[in-house]
């Protein structure tokens, strides 16, 4: 498998098909005299920021901390929890097992209060 082509930037859904984001980063485990293996996928704007420029990643982390949204973020998901990799990546977890939707939840509290919210 070509990790960069087949895994990075791919859509991730939980075991119920709910959108969890995209693979914003990967953790690769490289041991001497052994081929590297994909240890985990990372989801979260801070990981995406890191890939573009470390300063951007740092900025996003500070922002998340400022709003109290930095708990367990960016979400690191062990490769063992990946169910299948097709056009999207399906996990064995549910979205609530992770902190990927912390921002969505925070915003939902505001959006839900607006008149006419459905």
């Amino acid at each position: 498998m070509d990790i960069v082509r087949d895994v990075l930037d791919t859509r991730v859904v939980d075991r119920n098909g709910r959108e969890m984001g995209r693979v914003d980063g990967i953790v690769v485990d490289c041991q001497p005299n052994q081929p590297c293996r994909l240890a985990a996928i990372v989801i979260g704007p801070a990981a995406l920021g890191d890939r573009l420029h470390p300063a951007l990643g740092q900025f996003v982390r500070r922002l998340e901390k400022r709003f109290g949204l930095d708990q367990n973020r960016p979400a690191q998901i062990e490769f063992a929890d990946v169910d299948e990799i097709e056009t999207k990546i399906r996990l064995r977890l549910t979205i609530s097992d992770t902190a990927v939707d912390a921002v969505e939840k925070r915003l939902r509290a505001w959006v839900g209060r607006l008149p006419g919210a459905r």
Binding site: D9, R11, R22, L52, T87, E104, R108, W110, V111, R118
Partner: protein, 404 residues
């Protein structure tokens, strides 16, 4: 039967391309200054936009991915960040200009200064997005947009000489103001082929749940839809050429442009022009704000869609609301919509090769479009647009300074 109504997706997209604040002014200026001789540029823009929209729709129907999603997956964030950032900046600038366009239209109808209308217009646009669903937005704008046919009716009733109109479809070098002519050509194409339209169209195809069975609908929608907008833009250009050309009017305000309707519509001229401008710009504003939500949601993997519950798509809702708020804020500071349009046209042209080039790859990748890959004609057209886009990108800034 509902499928046939999907044509409105094409009509709505074409309103955003041909019948909005920038396109109406460039068509009017082109007609007033160069007669029919820039009709070919509108035709070229139509060919480009329709071909690109058809591909964006095909990509969405077969791969179930919008353009933004496909570009992120196929090319990665390091490539996508450039067109994505440019698209967000262009969206915000264009949205600012469109809100200004609606406000100017209301000013023409009421006489009350346009600055007073920016906030109410922004609020109404937000309410449409907050309360509406995709069909309501699409059909509503599509239906109201029919008023813009008044440009076509005006051109028809002025009885232009068929031979002269036909001559306008052949590119020629003018005897005067060559720089201005080149600038107008780039402006017409840049104001029409906006990157947001392609992502809006492909997102619409996903909202409408198109499948491979709908590819013929996509083809008809893309070509007939863009044909609608193109006909309106040509109607505007022809009317301006016949009415404003002989008066040597250099269109610098929309009030001047409205005069093109006087010989045909008499005392209804300003009302009809303002309604056409206002509805076209409002449709474009709603599309642009919605697209900002789409492009961010799809690129970052959020749950998105105007047909989904707002509570389940709160980041998507926040994205279109924030872009709208930002545009209202910029528009309220005081600006000239034509100047903002000029900047966004320049940006659109500069970024065009980076928007079109991924299409060349995606439309030939069976992982995305299966057996519906582009043939030699589609690929040739894409290559032409890319090369032309790159050439225009190199000359646009000097042309804006010299010709604008």
């Amino acid at each position: 039967m509902r499928k046939l109504f999907n044509l409105t997706l094409g009509v709505v997209t074409s309103i955003g391309g041909f019948v909005e604040v920038g396109s109406i002014s460039t068509s009017a200026q082109a007609g007033a200054e160069f007669g029919f001789s820039l009709l070919w540029a509108v035709a070229a823009a139509t060919l480009f936009l329709a071909a690109l929209a058809e591909m964006a729709g095909r990509l969405a129907a077969v791969s179930k991915r919008s353009m933004a999603a496909a570009v992120r997956e196929r090319f990665g964030i390091h490539f996508q960040i450039i067109p994505l950032s440019a698209e967000l900046v262009i969206d915000t600038l264009l949205l600012t200009a469109e809100l200004g366009g609606v406000a100017i239209a209301i000013k023409m109808l009421t006489g009350i200064g346009f600055q007073w209308w920016i906030l109410p217009v922004g609020l109404v646009a937000w309410l449409v997005l907050w309360l509406g669903n995709f069909s309501v937005i699409e059909d509503g704008i599509g239906l109201l947009g029919m008023v813009t046919l008044s440009f076509v009716v005006a051109a028809w009733r002025l009885h232009p000489a068929a031979g002269q109109v036909a001559g306008g479809f052949v590119p020629t070098v003018p005897h005067h103001d060559i720089t201005r002519y080149a600038f107008m050509t780039v402006s017409i194409i840049g104001a029409t082929v906006s990157p947001y339209l392609l992502n809006f169209y492909s997102s619409g195809a996903i909202e409408e749940k198109w499948t491979e069975q709908d590819l013929w609908i996509n083809r008809v929608t893309a070509w007939l839809g863009m044909g609608f907008g193109s006909t309106v833009a040509m109607g505007c250009l022809v009317t301006a050429a016949i009415v404003l050309g002989p008066q040597h009017v250099k269109v610098e305000t929309y009030e001047q442009a409205a005069q093109m309707f006087v010989p045909v519509y008499g005392r209804w001229a300003v009302t009809l022009f303002a309604l056409s401008l206002g509805i076209g710009c409002f449709g474009a504003a709603v599309e642009i704000a919605l697209n900002a939500g789409y492009v961010l949601g799809q690129s970052l993997g959020w749950t998105w869609g105007i047909d989904k519950k707002r509570r389940d798509t709160s980041r998507f809702v926040a994205a279109f609301s924030l872009v709208l708020l930002l545009a209202v804020a910029i528009a309220s500071i005081g600006f000239d919509p034509l100047r903002v349009t000029l900047i966004s046209v320049a940006l659109t042209v500069v970024i065009m090769p980076l928007v079109v080039l991924p299409f060349l790859v995606l439309m030939n990748d069976e992982q995305y479009v299966g057996r519906h890959t582009s043939g030699p004609i589609g690929n040739g057209l894409l290559a032409t647009i890319t090369i032309l886009g790159a050439l225009m990108a190199m000359v646009v800034i000097p042309l804006e300074i010299l010709g604008g």
